[in-house]
Amino acid sequence: MNNILVPNRRTALKMLGGGAAALAMPAVIRPTPGWAANGVLNITTYDKFLPQEFLDKFQKDTGIQVNIRLTDDQGKQYNLLTAEGANPSTDIVTVAGHRYSQFIASKLLQPLDTGKIPNWKNLNTAYQDAPWARVDNNLWGLPILAGYEGLARNVDYVKEAPSWEIMFDPQYKGQTSYIVSDFMTIVMQYLGHDGDFVSYVDKPDVAQKATNEARDFLIKHKDMVRKYYDAGSEVQQMFINEDIYLGHSWSGPAAKLIMDGHPIQLSVPKEGTFGFCYTLNVVNNAPNAENAYKLLDAVLASPEVGAAMTRQSGYSSTINGVGDLLNDREKLASTLPQEELERIVFFSSVNRDMKNEMIDRATAEVKAA
């Protein structure tokens, strides 16, 4: 004990050596970083988007080791990729429609070369060259799953929900939930404004006035809300626990509840809503871009892959032939009546900066109010 407290030269050297070795150990035992090795593919995606069976088969067939980094937020993914700059540690990212143009404008993605994807023909024609997907005369990603922002309700307690107005009906006070930033654009639509800001190019005053109106409306009806949520799993949990009866929800999480047999119904109210696609995108300067293209091609190779994606995530697959593989409940959960389908407008890539700036600030104001 005394030797340790007042060390002699030899003890001091031993302890110093031991301490230095312990500090250096993580660097010594750390394996070669995945992103720097050959024969690997690094993908940033959401939980349950890429089925494990598909990944196992891909790895077995190609010998490429796939490393998955899960994300639950587009902002996190965007910020990490931006921070990594010209040396990204991921080859493929999963971009949601409302962030598509932001990733492209920030030069985080490389244009998609569909010539390197022989199975491109298996993609539903509606998505092969969709207007929202083509930016600067290029396609930038492979659409894998399609969804929309819907009105989910527990049918045991809420029989009909034809309008977004029901989210502000006093009889459901404290029984609704939404993601503030997403729902604010819906409320702008509900109040008769342009929630996607497309018509507000060069009209910041008009856009600000419309945003403020939606913000004030949400603050006024704050007592209707049980909780502001962030992740799809949260709204699922609230519906299962019957903490809420109504909620603004991305179609995937709500459809998954329907597939699992919960008394949930998803609809698009008469005021309309926004649709989006999740795309798999090859990152600019991706260290394993060729392997990334092999995976994109493998995704399109079989409708089984698309069906598994739909079953796991709840979103609709963009791959041909998937509908034939789903059972009745799965089809019911992931499809809408034609009348409601027509109310969906896909997020545009126009005027995103103005929209992000104003919505982010208004969101903070609603939460702080």
């Binding site: 030269r9 050297l13 110093l16 301490g19 902002g75 920030s106 949260e234 626990n241």
Partner: protein, 328 residues
């Protein structure tokens, strides 16, 4: 014990008391580089202590001071992460935003009020438990009692938070029980309220209060209490005049730890809180997750929170802890 032969030469030809080294090590310790650097440093006691303290110091700097320095650096930039074609300059505007807009001031005040209330409640709840374990439980059973109290903390913070959700949800254990015994017809909305957040937070952080309190109370000699009782002091007087002042160190340490943890807690308010319990960490996280390039603002706000929390804890320790010397 300090070696008496450390100033002797190394290698061949040394006297019998000088340590013998194998050829390889002898080569190193006889080299000029070693003798003039590490060798010279370990010759003196002070040098050895500095060298040994240096290793944990480097560790602390790398893991604790390093991230805070990085945060400070980012907070003084106009843009971060820097996008292609954008230049990032030095600016103090990220700090000015906080003082310019009340929008961001409100959640900080809310956080302070909430952390203060949570600290007070934790103290009131945990103090009797700590006293029971330290003074009522027999000495041979104290380790077991402490171990039992620590069992829930073997699980991670998130798992314990989800257990609170399972307890307080509309279809959670409490509501189901109340309904089963006929006390309620409809579930009581307990989750996503100030109550659920406070309940969850006190449960999650009570360990930080328990251990300092136990340590302080356990040291109070039982003879003091016996003597006071013999002199006619009632239970409340004994508590007020002896136990409370002598456990002040534990109260100050526990309250400081709990307050500093509460003020920066992030996941728990996100999972248990409702629309009216948005605290400052959530506001900060919005800058990191948001669509815009706002990391510098988030970093500046995080530092503002860190500094104000440390100042508050420092004032508390000074006001409450500092009186000890004059009182005793």
């Amino acid at each position: 014990m300090v070696s008496s032969n450390t100033t002797a030469g190394y290698g061949a030809g040394h006297d019998a008391s000088v340590p013998k080294y194998s050829t390889g090590i002898a080569k190193v310790v006889n080299s000029a580089l070693y003798r003039h650097t590490l060798g010279a440093a370990v010759e003196s006691r002070i040098g050895r202590i500095i060298l040994l303290a240096g290793v944990p110091l480097i560790w602390l700097i790398m893991l604790h001071v390093g991230p805070i320095y990085q945060m400070l650096k980012i907070s003084l930039l106009s843009h971060y992460p820097v996008q292609p074609g954008v230049e990032s300059n030095f600016t103090l505007d990220n700090y000015a935003i906080f003082f310019r807009e009340s929008l961001y001031f409100t959640p900080l005040i809310k956080s302070f009020i909430f952390a203060t209330a949570a600290t007070a409640v934790t103290l009131v709840v945990v103090y009797p438990v700590a006293y029971y374990v330290a003074k009522i439980v027999k000495p041979e059973g104290r380790s077991k009692a402490l171990l039992l109290l620590l069992v829930p903390f073997w699980a991670g913070e998130l798992i314990r938070t989800f257990s609170v959700i399972m307890l307080l949800a509309n279809r959670g254990a409490v509501n189901v029980l109340l309904r089963e015994i006929g006390l309620i017809d409809r579930p009581i909305p307990m989750l996503y309220t100030s109550f659920s957040l406070g309940f969850g937070l006190v449960y999650l952080i009570c360990l930080y209060m328990l251990l300092p309190l136990y340590s302080a109370i356990e040291k109070i000699p039982s003879q003091y209490l016996d003597a006071a009782a013999d002199l006619g002091a009632g239970p409340f007087t004994r508590f007020r005049r002896i136990i409370l002042p002598l456990s002040k160190d534990g109260i100050v340490s526990g309250c400081s730890l709990v307050f500093l943890t509460c003020i920066g807690v992030f996941a728990t308010p996100m999972l248990l809180g409702g629309p009216t319990t948005v605290l400052f960490p959530e506001t900060i996280s919005g800058f990191f997750h948001g669509a815009s390039d706002k990391w510098p603002v988030g970093a500046a706000f995080a530092l503002i929170m860190l500094v104000t929390a440390l100042i508050t804890a420092g004032i508390f320790m000074r006001l409450v802890g500092g009186k000890k010397r004059s009182a005793f």
